[in-house]
Each structure stands twice: as C-alpha cells, then as structure tokens.
C-alpha cells in the first residue's frame, strides 16, 4: 500500500524528490555470472516498470544516479551518461560479478550515452535494448529488437499518465493568476469592491480551471484526433469548445462584454497550456516548438490582455 501511495506521489510530482532509488546493483530473480546486466535510472517509476517487465527473468539491475529523474529526461539533461554508468560499474565491481562484458541500456538513453565510448571507460560494451521495459524478456530471448520495439509510441495510456504531473506543475502559476484575477475583478466605479472581487473573481477562476481542463487534460488525450499540427491551435479548439460551455452555464450572470472576456481568456489559456504539452511528447522537435511559439505566444498574450481589459471594463458599462 505504501508502495502504491508512493507511486501516486511520484506521478503527481508532490513528493517526487523522495522517490529516488539508491544507486547500485540489484538482483532480479536469481542472477548468475552469465545473466544480463540491465542499466536504469534511479527514478522510482523507471525502476518499478523494469522490475515488473522482468518478472520471470534472472538479471542484474544496475541503477545509476540520475538524481531521481527518468531515463529519457536524464539522458537529455546529461545525467544518464557513459561516465555515470562507468562509475557505477566500477563501484559495484561488476567485472567480478559477471563473466561477460556487456551491459544493456534502454534505447531512450541513446541521446545521453554514446555506447561506443562505454567500453573505453569501463571495459563493458554498451548495447541498446528495446524502448519499453515490457519488451525486455522478448528481446533477451530473441537476442535482438525488431522495428516495433525500437519505435517510440505515444498511446492514449502513455499520454494519460503524463497529465497529473502537468497539472501539478501548474499550481504555482494558477495561484498567482487567481490572486491577480481577484484583484482585477474588484475594480469598480467606486474604486474597489470586495464583494465584486469575490463574486466576479470566482467566475474567472472557474473559467481558468475549465481552460486547464481543456488545454492540459482534453487536448493531450485527444491529441492525434484534433486538427492542426501546432499544439496551440489544438488547444485553441478545445478552449473554444470549453468557452461555449462556460457561456451556456453563465449566460444569465454575465454581461455582454464579460462574455467576450471569458471566451478570449479561456481560449488563450487553453492554447498556452496545450503548447506547454509539447515538452512532454516524444515527437516534437525543439525547432518546431520554437516555431509554433512565435505565433502562438503573440496570439495568447494578445488575447489574454484583451480579455482582462474587457473583464475590468465589465462593471463600468
């Protein structure tokens, strides 16, 4: 149970820093001197997925210190590196534990590890295994990976597990935005009204939460089925749908100018959040993200400013 809770904690990012595994050599099953050595990151979820993937296999697991970050991100940041692997190989005295001279690396660590350099550093040859830990038993049996095992996927399930983390990283931004919203909502013909601040503020905060759902939950889930390739446009579509819903709910309580404000605000926030999701996918290039941001940010900032102006103007018309 504690383990389950821990997984939830690690996924949502709340206690992510506590979910490191101590680096070093671990056993899976009953490994011998000829069993394969599989290298992984010291991120709890990477470790657990690997352990589950290797049920029924006898292997050594070499956990390297990536400061609790998963394989893919650690390789990108340079902590999952040939040097670190070599360091752990020496520290574990691996050359006295196994008779072969080969370690299996996750394929998605290849942007951080030059496999051909590993041998020079520690005497062990690096060999890239499949992308998914679940394919490891099949890989070990066949001795090689087929094209499917080497192709990265981004299934509905893989997208869904990323969402809680995305949301949790937004709390700080959200609380700042909410504070600004309450202050701006209270501006009235007689300077400042706490009642207005609360009553109107709640509406716009609710719209922001709806936009969060549209941009950071619905857009990632529906990703391949939404039109356009640029993420902010996908997010703008979901934001438009969300703003229609908000208009429907709030038709009576909102003035005309406030309705426009709510729509613009929801669309631009959702577009922004969807654009942020590019960082979590395994198929968006940095050049591409920079390109879409040049258009996307102008639209998002422009319409967010317009939305706030209309919103402030609400009590005056």
């Amino acid at each position: 149970m504690r383990d389950k809770l821990g997984t939830i904690g690690a996924r949502t990012g709340f206690f992510r820093n506590n979910y490191k595994i101590t680096p070093g050599l671990y056993c899976i099953g009953e490994p011998s001197t000829t069993s394969p050595v599989v290298v992984t990151a010291n991120y709890k979820l990477s470790f657990d997925t690997l352990r589950q993937g290797l049920v029924g296999v006898n292997a050594w697991l070499l956990v390297i210190d990536t400061r609790g970050i998963n394989v893919w991100c650690a390789a990108g940041k340079g902590t999952f590196s040939a040097e670190e692997i070599a360091y752990q190989v020496h520290k574990a005295n691996l050359d006295q534990i196994v008779t072969h001279r080969e370690v299996l690396l996750p394929q998605l660590s290849a942007n951080g590890v030059a496999a051909h350099e590993l041998k020079k550093l520690c005497g062990f040859r690096g060999r890239f295994g499949p992308i998914l830990a679940a394919d490891l038993p099949k890989f070990l049996q066949a001795g090689e990976a087929d094209e499917d095992m080497r192709t990265v996927t981004f299934t509905l399930r893989e997208r869904a597990v990323l969402i809680p983390l995305e949301i949790c990283m937004l709390w700080k931004q959200l609380s700042v935005v909410a504070l600004i919203i309450f202050i701006l909502s209270g501006i009235s013909p007689d300077f400042f009204s706490p009642t207005l601040a609360f009553n109107r503020g709640i509406l716009l905060v609710f719209a922001t939460l709806t936009a969060m759902f549209a941009g950071a939950v619905a857009t990632p889930l529906l990703l391949p089925w939404l039109p356009f390739r640029q993420f902010w446009l996908k997010g703008a579509i979901m934001g438009s749908l969300a703003s229609l819903l908000l208009l429907f709910i709030g038709w009576q309580s909102l003035g005309d100018i406030e309705k426009i404000a709510i729509c613009l605000w929801t669309i631009s926030s959702s577009a922004y959040l969807a654009m942020n999701f590019t960082g979590s996918t395994p198929f968006t290039s940095l050049s591409g993200v920079a390109k879409e941001m040049r258009n996307g940010l102008i639209f998002q900032i422009g319409s967010a400013i317009l939305a706030l102006i209309f919103w402030i103007a609400g009590p005056f018309v």
């Binding site: 991100c73 990108g76 942007n111 990283m169 390739r229 942020n276 940095l286 591409g288 941001m293």
Partner: protein
C-alpha cells in the same frame, strides 16, 4: 509513429555522407526510424519525423550527423526562459521539469 506528425521542414538534422562509415548506429538508436543504411552509407528516409533528440549524433562514431544542438528539454518554458535570457544577455536557466 502513426497518427503523430509534427511540423514539416523545421527539424534541423544533417548527414554528411562522406564521413559516414555505414556502422548502422544511427539506424539502431533512432526512436523514429529515420535512418537506413544502404550500400554502406546511412540515408535519411523521413526527415520530418525527427524530434531532434540527438541520439543518432551522439552515437555516430565519425561525427557524420548534425542535430540542432540547442537541447534543453524541449519544453515551452525552457524556450521562454532562453528567449528572456537572450534579451537580458544571460545564460538560460533550467525549466524545472
């Protein structure tokens, strides 16, 4: 990777065939299967699927591959940080993810 295509003609990925010795490392590591070695030389078969992860360049023994080196982590906040940093003339800070 079916169902997922990102922007065309934006990825920065170059291969200099002269340097290539046809070892096949790039073909092996690329998670989007962008390289194929034919007749002892690597070929880029689907440039637009490249996500600029840099795995191929890192594992090329002869440095025959060039990938957009501005790595960071590819997320929007990193790019915003680096733009802000360029305006202020400082080194970009990390994005925190």
């Amino acid at each position: 990777m079916q169902g997922f295509r990102y922007l065309d003609d934006t990825a920065i990925l170059r291969l200099s065939e002269d340097k290539c010795i046809g070892c096949g490392n790039c073909q092996l590591v690329c998670p989007h299967r962008i390289f194929q070695v034919r007749d002892g030389k690597a070929k880029i078969v689907d440039l637009n699927a490249c996500m600029e992860c840099g795995a191929c360049a890192k594992n090329c023994p002869t440095a025959a591959i060039y990938v957009n080196p501005d790595d960071g982590c590819g997320c929007a906040s990193y790019i915003i940080n680096s733009w802000v940093a360029r305006i202020r003339g400082k080194a970009p800070s990390r994005c925190g993810c």
